[in-house]
């Protein structure tokens, strides 16, 4: 009973964040696309945690740990990429 | 587990097809690199299907799993090399697409 329900919630969370793929496609700004990816990242972490509980695979929590550790990486590369040559910091000129 | 593994194996087959299409159709080198990675991960998923059918604890047969892990890391190194080549191409010629014919120098010169 519990594993089934947890797997169901994993599907629900994944479905709701996967809808964010529409924002990746539509934009309009690059920031919008990046935010959608960020939401998918967090939702993915939640999905993995729920799945780890549903399948009774505690080792899978480590996957969520790695995803959470690296959750900011793509966004950091993205904001750097907005500066010429991709080496700056959005705060510099602020 | 068997039928689920087969489902993801079929998804892997579709990914190889999608990647091949992108590799042929997209002109920008970065897009080609993306498409090539799709092909690779599709193959890995097919391997996953083979591993998952094997039963056993934790994802089934450990031998295909180990090969997929080495494959993922090698795919990253190939991607990094391809990106470095693309950047060099861009720096030298200002182009982001491959020349239309292999002996481009003969044509352009």
């Amino acid at each position: 009973m519990m594993p089934d329900l947890l797997a169901g919630f994993a599907a629900l969370v994944l479905l709701s964040v996967a809808a964010g793929l529409a924002r990746v496609l539509r934009g309009p700004t690059a920031a919008d696309r990046m935010m959608a990816a960020q939401l998918l990242g967090t939702g993915g972490i939640a999905t993995v945690l729920l799945l780890a509980a549903a399948l009774d695979m505690p080792a899978a929590v480590d996957v969520a740990l790695v995803l959470a550790l690296l959750a900011a990486f793509a966004a950091v590369a993205f904001v750097k990429g907005a500066s010429p040559e991709g080496t700056g910091d959005p705060e510099e000129e602020a | 587990m068997t039928s689920a593994a087969t489902l993801y194996g079929l998804a892997g087959a579709a990914l190889v097809g999608i990647g091949l299409y992108g590799l042929a159709v997209q002109a920008h080198v970065l897009r080609k690199i993306l498409a090539f990675n799709l092909i690779g991960s599709g193959v890995f998923l097919v391997f996953g299907a083979v591993a998952g059918r094997g039963g056993g604890a934790g994802g089934g047969d450990p031998v295909p799993q180990a090969m997929v892990i080495t494959g993922i890391v090698v795919a990253l190194s190939a991607t990094a090399l391809a990106v470095a080549l693309a950047l060099r191409l861009f720096r030298e010629t200002g182009r982001v697409t491959l020349p239309p014919d292999p002996p481009a120098g003969a044509r352009d010169g």
Binding site: L5, L14, F73 | M1, A49, G60, V73, L87
Partner: protein, 317 residues
């Protein structure tokens, strides 16, 4: 468990959709972001299939390194209109032909997947039988470091070859110099703050993943990737500079793992009667494997980090 099929019903279409977007969308940035999302979804798929070792590798590479690599390249090649856009969309014949080719290959592979023999031939039994002799609990680590050790050894060498390829693209003035361009960040800004906070945590997580790898999912590849990723973050936060690629210490770190692996492999000739064999005496295999893994973790971390850092572009100061 039936609810898992509900998850499959969401996950598989999402993976295919993200793949189609990465290939099909006009906007290049959207394509790269879709690809990053695709990597994340694949990591979830590997968890779903129970292959946590693979999921860890995919999570660390897909979420960490690939995104940085591709977004960095995109930034440098520019998002402005270029000849790829000027050439217009590909011709109809090309698109139809490519679609036909892709569909045919996909159908062929699908047929092969469906035609896999029942019951599946497999090696899990053989691995499970031989694993106690190594003193390990994780069969995947056993396969990587012992049963198919030559694969792993050659893979470590392939990584080094790719790195040599990247280094050899350096222009003459920067030969042997510092990879990539110099990053800047406001010293007291958010970016520098993250760069100071996350790497220590990442080192702890990386060492943890390495250490549990003997008995649970984890190991040298996953740990090396995590360590490489947090080092790249420190570089992007302008806290550390990558070393000049001619630096001796760097080169020692790069070859330490493969060299250690080779040394243990040759020792196996004498001790176990086979190249890459481990002595049969109880208690010997595990320490040797951990030693090789420690060396590999260091070398893989250094190699992956420099693969992402790229071609030397500045002369060593």
């Amino acid at each position: 468990m039936t609810a898992l099929y509900l998850l499959d019903l969401v996950l598989v279409p999402a993976i295919l959709l993200a793949a189609c977007t990465a290939v099909g969308t006009r906007d290049r940035f959207a394509a790269v972001v879709s690809f990053i999302v695709y990597g994340l979804l694949l990591a979830i798929a590997w968890v779903r299939l129970g292959a946590v070792d693979v999921a860890l590798a995919e999570a660390a590479i897909g979420a960490g390194l690939t995104g940085v690599l591709l977004l960095g390249a995109l930034a440098r090649m520019g998002r402005r209109a270029d000849e790829a856009a000027a050439a217009g969309p590909p011709g109809r014949t090309l698109r139809l032909g490519a679609a036909a080719l892709g569909a045919a290959v996909a159908a062929g592979i699908a047929a092969a997947v469906l035609a896999l023999p029942e019951p599946a031939p497999q090696l899990s039994g053989a691995v499970a039988e031989a694993l106690p002799a190594l003193g390990l609990g994780n069969p995947v680590t056993g396969v990587l470091l012992a049963f198919r050790g030559y694969d792993t050894l050659l893979e470590a060498v392939v990584l080094l070859l790719a790195l040599l390829g990247i280094w050899s693209l350096a222009p003459d003035p920067a030969w042997g110099g510092l990879p990539g361009l110099r990053h800047r960040a406001r010293p007291e800004g958010v970016l520098a703050w993250l760069g100071r906070l996350l790497p220590p945590v990442g080192i702890v997580v990386g060492l943890y993943v390495f250490w549990v790898g003997a008995d649970r999912p984890g190991g040298a590849f996953q740990a090396g990737t995590i360590l490489a990723a947090v080092w790249i973050l420190a570089v992007m936060s302008a806290l550390v500079e990558p070393p000049a690629v001619r630096s001796l210490a760097l080169r020692l770190a790069l070859v330490a793992g493969p060299a250690l692996f080779l040394a243990v492999g040759f020792a196996g000739l004498g001790l176990a009667g086979a190249f890459l064999g481990y002595p049969a005496a109880a208690g010997w295999a595990k320490p040797l494997i951990l030693l090789v893994e420690a060396g590999l973790t260091l070398s893989i971390a250094a190699t992956l980090a420099l693969l992402v850092a790229g071609t030397p572009e500045r002369a060593a100061g």
